[in-house]
């Protein structure tokens, strides 16, 4: 039984030119304890989707269809039907979100302890001592010194420390789902490494499920169990992490993988994706990736294909040409850029 199940979710932004179809008919399941990575270019809809899951979307956004069902273990909750009080409880106690640890994620005039206390109080933890004990415990868990951190202000901490604090705060009410939005962007390499290792350790100890949004494929390779590729608001490929990296079946996934050079191993055939993403207000007919796709045929212009099962189990791609892609890429456990070299 999946802990979170999304069906046919669509989200639009209203603009002067017309609605932006930022998320279109997205369905997926998140299993207990697993890490699901959503990858895609900026504008692919991955952040809109993540924010929409906890209904933190900006005012101009509107959920135009679909449903989100959360299974708390005791009952099944329709997230889109929660009232604001229930939603607040859901947001932190069941499903917490960790944003990029920019300074703006913190209130500059209150201490980290007050951030913890405010968060706890807003979600029904009124006992100061309980929040304090829990905060200390969590800061230990993210390898920070509670005595020093709790009395500090956000600007006194380094970027890596701030990210750890945000992670600790997200865990305050023991959520079963943690959504991470670009958790290591803007951090230095060594700090980034430490955060990745920390996330892996926390997941092992606390068994929460993670949805992880990043444009950084290497982070996904490191942390994810399963992957979703998004393009122009839709999921175009769904696969286990090894399948996606070694046996992608959607040309857009291949494009993304080839666009990222590596430090170790052979460089292979590295290349950018030609062209640019479609206008999400006036979407083209047929497959939205068609104009940029090296595998396209005339039929691709006819209709936007649904997710189709491909040659590996538990793996789907929204491409009528997946067999041609499979023939070109093959099934060996080697990176795509090397195979295409």
């Amino acid at each position: 039984m999946p802990i979170l199940s999304v069906r046919g979710l669509s989200i639009e932004y209203r603009t002067r030119r017309g609605p932006i179809h930022a998320v279109r008919d997205v369905s997926f399941d998140l299993e207990q304890g697993e890490t699901l990575a959503i990858i895609g270019e900026s504008g692919s809809g991955k952040t809109t989707l993540a924010v929409g899951l906890v209904r933190l979307s900006p005012r101009s956004a509107r959920i135009t269809g679909g449903q989100i069902v959360y299974d708390s273990g005791r009952e099944r909750v329709a997230v889109l039907e929660l009232d604001s009080e229930e939603l607040r409880r859901f947001r932190w106690a069941e499903c917490a979100m960790v944003f990029q640890a920019a300074l703006s994620a913190f209130n500059p005039v209150i201490t980290i302890w007050e951030h913890f206390f405010d968060t706890g109080r807003a979600h029904g933890m009124h006992d100061r001592h309980r929040v304090h004990d829990r905060a200390r415990e969590l800061l230990h868990l993210v390898h920070l010194d509670p005595d020093r951190i709790l009395s500090a202000y956000a600007h006194e901490l380094s970027g890596g420390m701030r990210q750890r604090v945000l992670i600790a705060m997200a865990l305050l009410l023991d959520p079963r789902i943690v959504i991470l939005d670009e958790p290591t962007t803007a951090l230095d390499i060594l700090t980034q490494r430490a955060i990745i290792d920390l996330l892996r350790e926390l997941r092992r100890k606390l068994h929460f499920a993670t949805i992880f949004i990043s444009h950084d494929l290497s982070m996904a390779a490191e942390l994810a169990d399963r992957m979703l590729t998004m393009y122009a608001g839709r999921i175009v490929e769904r696969a286990g992490v090894d399948d996606l990296f070694y046996r992608p079946r959607h040309p857009y996934s291949i494009g993304l993988l080839r666009a990222v050079p590596r430090v170790s191993g052979a460089l292979g055939s590295v290349a950018s994706i030609p062209g640019s993403p479609p206008d999400l207000i006036r979407l083209p007919r047929g497959c939205t990736y068609y104009p940029r796709c090296p595998f396209h045929v005339d039929d691709c212009r006819e209709s936007d294909p649904p997710l189709l099962p491909v040659d590996t189990p538990g793996h789907e791609a929204a491409c009528i040409r997946w067999e041609a892609v499979a023939a070109r890429i093959g099934s060996a456990a080697k990176p795509v850029a090397e195979k295409l070299a």
């Binding site: 900026s42 504008g43 062209g275 640019s276 993403p277 479609p278 999400l280």
Partner: protein, 299 residues
């Protein structure tokens, strides 16, 4: 969000200035307040500069019609000598508005020139200009204005405009200097330096165009200050009161004791409303201009 560059739209070939005006109105029309401001300003400018060419001056004293209420013959009533208030409003706009425009022009020129010099040269020039500005800023303006007006007794609107301008430049100068300082650090200005395009190019082509909205809005705000300042010193009777002006109307209304007559309500309201509505139009126009100068909102 990136979109594929659409091919340039074919448009009717209109002469540059005409299409510029159309574009100006198109962007301004997105902000109703700005459009209302524009209409107000155009209305008052037409009233002040065009209406006197059409409407004959009526300054015949009529003791039978002192402080009469609005009527068909006198839409805004009459004054303490039975003269038509509307006619005085029509004739009283030109001087006060011309003076305001000139004062705003002079003060803006001073502020841009010295603000830009201070920011681009830096060093001692900056320190000196800032010191003078700060001194000028600390002097209570209205008091200084009263003293200057009392000493010099400006007779032409140009001399009055210069006096007003000399009081208004400091605040704008500080803002222009801050703008130039921040623009100076921008990447595209650094690129222009790297391309060796010269100081004049950098100041006039790279920096000033990015301050247009700022300058235009400040110009309008400076006009509103100049109008209030004129109203104040004229009301106090500190300038030779020849000619006609909304402010002079107020002076006479006060001196003739109109304040103590119940009947004089409409006489008093005439110039007060003229000044207030014109000021409001200016402020609204200024707020609408913000959008006009934003290149993102142009087609």
């Amino acid at each position: 969000m990136t979109t594929i560059a659409a091919p340039a739209r074919r448009e009717l070939a209109l002469p540059g200035p005409v299409s510029a005006v159309i574009e100006f109105l198109r962007v301004l029309s997105r902000k109703p307040v700005g459009l209302a401001g524009l209409f107000g300003v155009v209305f008052f400018l037409a009233l002040a500069y065009l209406a006197p060419l059409v409407v004959p001056l009526q300054d015949r004293v009529d003791v039978t019609a002192i402080y009469s209420a609005p009527s068909f013959g006198h839409p805004l009533g009459t004054d303490y000598q039975g003269r038509d208030v509307l006619n005085q409003i029509v004739y009283g706009g030109q001087d006060i508005i011309t003076t305001a425009i000139l004062a705003a022009l002079f003060s803006t020129l001073i502020a841009i020139t010295f603000g830009a010099i201070a920011a681009t040269l830096g060093g001692r020039a900056d320190v000196l200009i800032l010191a003078i500005t700060d001194v000028a800023l600390t002097i209570p303006q209205l008091v200084l204005l009263i003293v200057i007006a009392a000493i010099f007794r400006p007779t032409s609107f140009i001399s009055l405009a210069i006096i007003l301008a000399l009081l208004q430049w400091p605040a704008l100068l500080r803002q222009i200097r801050a703008q130039v300082l921040s623009l100076k650090e921008r990447d595209f200005v650094e690129a222009a330096r790297s391309l060796d395009l010269g100081l004049l190019h950098i100041v006039f082509r790279e920096m000033l165009p990015n301050m247009r909205s700022y300058i235009a809005i400040n110009f309008i705000i400076a006009m509103t200050y100049a109008i209030y300042a004129q109203a104040a010193i004229m009301f106090l009777g500190l300038v030779p009161l020849s000619g006609k002006s909304w402010a002079i109307m107020l002076y006479f209304a006060y001196n003739q004791g109109a304040l103590f007559f119940k009947d004089s309500f409409f006489y008093l309201m005439g110039p007060i409303m003229a000044i207030a509505l014109f000021q409001l139009s200016l402020v609204w126009l200024a707020s609408g201009l913000e959008d006009v100068f934003n290149p993102r909102l142009r087609s």
